[in-house]
Symmetry: C4
Subunit: 197 residues, 4 copies
């Protein structure tokens, strides 16, 4: 039950984050098609952030699948993750309004980096609660995606000052990496099921 | 359980979409009844979009009724649908503020079209997961409404440039078509129940 | 299950309505206490609408308690109620910003009236689904509150043009009438329980 | 079931409150890093309020853990708490925009105080419903945190007029006090479990 409420609250926050980002897409004053042109970068940054929140929701979903009991550490690690995700509407708006300028692009990456670190901390809080033989620990294995992503974000931040399109391309690349939902946890669950039978 | 969270997240997003559209209804500065007159088209577009989101919620509800297990494809097909629905507040605001001008009316139809396609993709993802003898496949049958709607939207887009009221009338017509909730799925479920007894 | 999703969606919409009303309370530019003075009517109208949404949530909660199966009529009657409730943030903002002027006060009452009618329609949809010996029908009994409220709203609309404070006072009075949660349904449920034992 | 809906509604409202506060973080017009400087106090007040809502969610969660049946009093005491929490976005915005000025800082404390009192009232409503041998009453014991916090808020209000940073520091201090989730309830539940075995 405790876990259900953690999921419900997280779902609520993620649903609101993903939806309020669209409020930045303000209807233009003109009524011609070209009145929409300045909105294109705003729309693109919205699409990217929508996909990122979708990925986080997806993985969060799989992560909590392995959890049975929620500790205080898990609760706060989860809120910490939600905090960084709640800054997405802000960085998305700033990057979109300025048509991918250097500093907004770097800041976008910084928030992505902090969210990735927060996700890692949440993962560790769950593993430490599960103790030895943790289902989650065996499920994520080497976790190469989880380890590669922050490195890529870290590279994207300075590279955004060279050319913001390099930074943006890296964010798109990482999103593609994660787009495929994480089947490791599903597989580990199935395997354990088989062993139990 | 996995399905419950998919429903909860979708309900959250749809509840937010349906409610934030009302934020476009900004209180007028005047305090006479005629100060509300410029809000009439905004209100009408709000009513239409409210009904559309209501229809989607209704049908989504019936659709997931037939689902037992959620796959990665279903998750992403669902997010894809939510993405197009999340653009409703934007197109509703644009059409409302400009008192049904041609381009906003056409764009409104374009987003309706993309949402209809996304709904179709979600339906196919569920059918393909269910495999042969899919409950959903037998429930939707010929799916004439699902096939007719995109054709009507597609017609409405160019016709909006002839006269935006033609486009708008087509959107109202399609909404009326769907207004009756889809009882095919309920019937198929009941039938299967009977066969099982 | 079907009912659970109806409740979850309604809870989501009501939670958003009750919370976005606070967005009208915009922080003043001054930093002295008297900078808050123009916000007093905005705050008061927020408090009144908060209580009204609270009452609707409360009664909706009790209403659905008696429901076992959801029909298409119930779904749409519920969405119809949510539609009128979704206009509360608009009428609350208009009445608050204009320090209780006649037309905004009358409009506030009109939306209250329509919500009351929508609630009545939802009640009837549930009773007609339950058929003879409906638990809800016996629970609400003569339903004097449900019958008196629309009459009072109807009186408040023209009286708001005489003096808007008469209209507002009637809205406060009706809220007080409903403030006590509707125990009739709880009692009817308990009684049936006893009879069953 | 009744309790589930109370939790779901509260989770919804809290999720929205925690997320709409971020809408105050408006993207700056400049694109240099120093364009973000005026946002620092807005961000800091957001962080503090995020933590406070997180604490309330956490403790609310534990509080309702001990509840089996919801009475009318509990419903309204819960709505009363949500009302004061819903004013957090307003006071957070006012304190942030004015870089921690005296009156906004005092008002921030006033709303914290009222929320603490509302929490206390909710606690008492639950204890009185549970009657003698109330699980909650034995769980909270002397409740020194619950008693100390309002005293500290009460002191912070006048001290904010001496120097707003004194007030703000007290709010940070109280947040730190509560940061550790309330394990008393968990312990009382476990103990009762043991006694039952």
């Amino acid at each position: 039950m405790e876990k259900n409420r953690l999921e419900a609250f997280s779902d609520g926050v993620l649903a609101i984050i993903i939806t309020i980002m669209v409020l930045e897409l303000k209807p233009p004053h003109g009524i011609q098609l070209n009145a929409l042109r300045p909105l294109v970068p705003v729309l693109l940054s919205y699409v990217l952030s929508f996909i990122y929140i979708g990925i986080y929701w997806n993985n969060h979903h799989h992560l909590l699948h392995t959890v049975k009991q929620v500790s205080g550490n898990i609760l706060w690690a989860n809120l910490h993750l939600l905090f960084w995700l709640s800054l997405f509407p802000f960085t998305t708006a700033w990057i979109g309004e300025n048509h991918v300028a250097p500093t907004p692009t770097a800041l976008y990456g910084f928030v992505l980096l902090m969210a990735a670190i927060a996700y890692y901390i949440l993962q560790q809080a769950i593993i430490s609660k599960q103790g030895r033989g943790s289902l989650l620990a065996s499920a994520i294995g080497s976790d190469w995606k989880g380890k590669l992503s922050p490195v890529l974000y870290l590279a994207a931040i300075p590279l955004s000052f060279v050319n913001p399109w390099i930074g943006s391309s890296i964010y798109v690349l990482v999103a593609l990496l994660w787009f495929v939902p994480d089947r490791r946890i599903e597989r580990a669950l199935e395997k354990r099921q088989h062993t139990a039978d």
